[in-house]
């Protein structure tokens, strides 16, 4: 029988710990496919970060290092400065990248550190139990914003892709989503492009991936996909925010 769809060589043969309906699994697959397609699995070093994806080192079939909360871009910098010819990426959530790790991520982009950042924006702290994130939408209820996020009390959600497009050192900044098959395909292409930027030495590349957290949001997996489309995309528009060069 002809197998049309198989496990990618970029992932280990291991079941993930993610909740049902969580889109981390899809994004893992897209990153793994990109590394496989570009034939760089054996040449890649990944930096896992604190949050639900900390255990991603168990799934990616590449050398991996765990990073303290928010520090993955600094860790990736250390790795890359020892191995400038290796492909180095971080995989970070919104609490990690957009809150506790803002200094590290801004300065990695500012130095045009030649790394690729996969930034998962699901508008909530998933691992710790659904607390408010810097990306939580105004009015969105969380365990620490029980009446919904009040912008007058704790500010408006951070738009990371827009912010990083303004940093001179950034070479490729895009925002994608994984709430439909069409968007998943587009996200895969975008992630591959971001790694190609690194491969060709253009410097810092980042893909922000709008993702769902059905458990944290208190929705079913299908409702969560709809909620993302209806609520997140209007505030976080998809697209390529910066591309210093057209490469495929």
């Amino acid at each position: 029988m002809l197998k049309l769809f198989t496990r990618t060589a970029g992932l280990k043969d291991r079941q993930t710990h993610y909740c049902p309906g969580c889109t981390h699994g899809i994004v893992h697959r897209l990153v793994a496919e990109a590394l496989t397609d570009l034939d760089i699995l054996g040449n890649t070093i990944g930096c896992a970060s604190v949050g639900c994806s900390i255990l991603s080192y168990n799934y990616f079939n590449v050398d991996m290092i765990e990073s303290a909360h928010g520090r993955a871009p600094a860790v990736a910098t250390g790795v890359k400065r020892v191995h400038p010819d290796r492909i180095v990426f971080t995989y970070q959530g919104d609490g990690d990248l957009a809150s506790i790790g803002t200094a590290e991520i801004v300065h990695a982009a500012h130095r045009s550190e030649n790394i690729t950042v996969i930034f998962i924006n699901n508008a909530i702290y998933g691992m710790t139990g659904g607390q408010m994130a810097p990306t939580t939408l105004v009015g969105q209820k969380t365990t620490t914003a029980p009446k919904g996020r009040d912008a007058s009390h704790c500010g408006s959600p951070l738009r990371i892709a827009e912010m990083f497009a303004k940093i001179p050192g950034a070479s490729y900044i895009a925002r994608v989503s994984v709430h439909s098959a069409k968007h998943v395909r587009q996200a895969g292409k975008t992630i591959r492009t971001a790694f190609a930027y690194q491969q060709q030495g253009y410097g810092f590349s980042m893909v922000e991936v709008l993702s769902t957290c059905p458990t944290g949001w208190g929705l079913s997996p299908v409702e969560a996909l709809d909620w993302l489309e209806d609520n997140m995309i209007p505030y976080y528009p998809l697209g390529v925010y910066k591309a210093v060069e057209t490469i495929s």
């Binding site: 890649t44 080192y57 290092i65 520090r71 600094a74 250390g78 790795v79 400065r81 020892v82």
Partner: protein, 352 residues
């Protein structure tokens, strides 16, 4: 090679290059700035990488990444900067990654001042980060010893796979002395088979991590670390004894303070008082042997520090109440004079 007159901080930086340092990450802070300034100029000439980080927090995590990738990595800072690095130091210790961290101590607490101090003794020996870990702390008293310890620090770091501190201070860092560089080993003794290099499809992926959600596994990891620390405690304590034979009082001091104490001992000798010095050259592991060997005619032990009394805890634990232990210190960046220490000794002996 002959002797060169060098500033303490610059001598440390030069020794790091000669000791095969491949990567330096750091953030400016007084009184250690000559170290990154020297390395930014000289390390690239030797094929190394100097990178200024956005903070001490970032610097220590760059050290972590570079060490995990197999580099021979150094950072330097001063007291409040080291406090910021404690998160990363705990991670480095837990992940068993080698690196060398220089602390050119200044006075605290808080932002404190920029004058010499030894108020980081606890920070250097007790671990300021979370969890059960230890970091070997080498404490030079001269610039010559600083450069020798730099080479030794990389060796210890790689042999035991641990961060290592070199504990200097604003006085040792800023003063000049003649120094001789001896031939140093640049390559690690053991190949770093554990390092991140990319698996090239030839081996299983390397995973460097410290998290474990299974208590029994994490307990085992802790016990493995503790076994290593017991080994270091057995093999690595270093100390100097100065005129301890026949001394009626033993003074204890480390680093630059120990040099002042040697002058006090000279002054006391002239007044007919035989005083000796025990100088711990490693703060952790703290040398037990010279304290076990204190004997008659010693009547008193006096610990002198540029702080409000920190090492004196270890002195008391080591003396085990065999002799009375007192403390004298100056702090805030004030340096004690040989005369005032000698007066303390006279007062103590006179009181008896």
């Amino acid at each position: 090679m002959g002797r060169t007159l060098m500033k303490g901080n610059e001598a440390l930086a030069e020794a790091a290059i000669r000791g095969g340092c491949t990567h330096f990450f750091g953030y400016p802070i007084t009184p250690q700035n000559e170290i990154p300034e020297y390395l930014s100029r000289e390390l690239p000439k030797h094929g190394g990488v100097y990178l200024q980080a956005e903070s001490e927090v970032a610097a220590i995590h760059m050290v972590y990444g570079a060490s995990a990738a197999g580099g021979r990595v150094l950072t330097s800072s001063s007291s409040p900067g080291i406090a910021l690095m404690q998160e990363g130091l705990s991670v480095l210790a837990a992940a068993q990654l080698p690196c060398v961290v220089l602390n050119v101590q200044r006075a605290g607490p808080g932002i404190g001042g920029i004058q010499p101090s030894q108020a980081d003794y606890h920070q250097m020996t007790r671990g300021g980060g979370n969890g059960d870990y230890r970091i070997p702390s080498l404490a030079p008293a001269t610039i010559q010893e600083s450069v020798e310890m730099m080479s030794e620090a990389f060796e210890i770091a790689e042999r035991y796979r641990t961060p290592v501190f070199i504990v200097s201070d604003g006085m040792l860092g800023q003063m000049m002395e003649p120094v001789e560089f001896k031939k140093q080993k640049k390559e690690p003794s053991q190949p770093k088979t554990w390092a991140l290099t990319g698996h090239q499809g030839k081996r299983k992926p390397v995973i460097i991590k410290t998290m474990s959600l299974v208590p029994e596994i994490l307990e085992q990891n802790n016990q493995n670390l503790q076994r290593k620390y017991r080994d270091i405690e057995e093999k690595e304590p270093k100390f100097e004894r100065f005129r301890t034979d026949g001394a009626e009082i033993i003074l204890v001091a480390y680093g630059s303070t120990s040099r002042i104490v040697k002058d006090s001992i000279e002054l006391l000798k002239r007044t007919g008082i035989n005083a000796g010095l025990i100088r711990p050259a490693t703060l952790w592991p703290f040398p037990q042997q010279p304290f076990n060997e204190i004997s008659h005619p010693c009547r008193h032990v006096l610990c002198i520090e540029m702080n409000c009394g920190q090492m004196v805890d270890d002195v008391r634990l080591s003396v085990r109440e065999r002799f009375p232990v007192s403390f004298y210190g100056r702090c805030g960046g004030v340096i004690p004079t040989p005369g005032e220490i000698a007066d303390q000794v006279k007062k103590l002996l006179g009181e008896r």
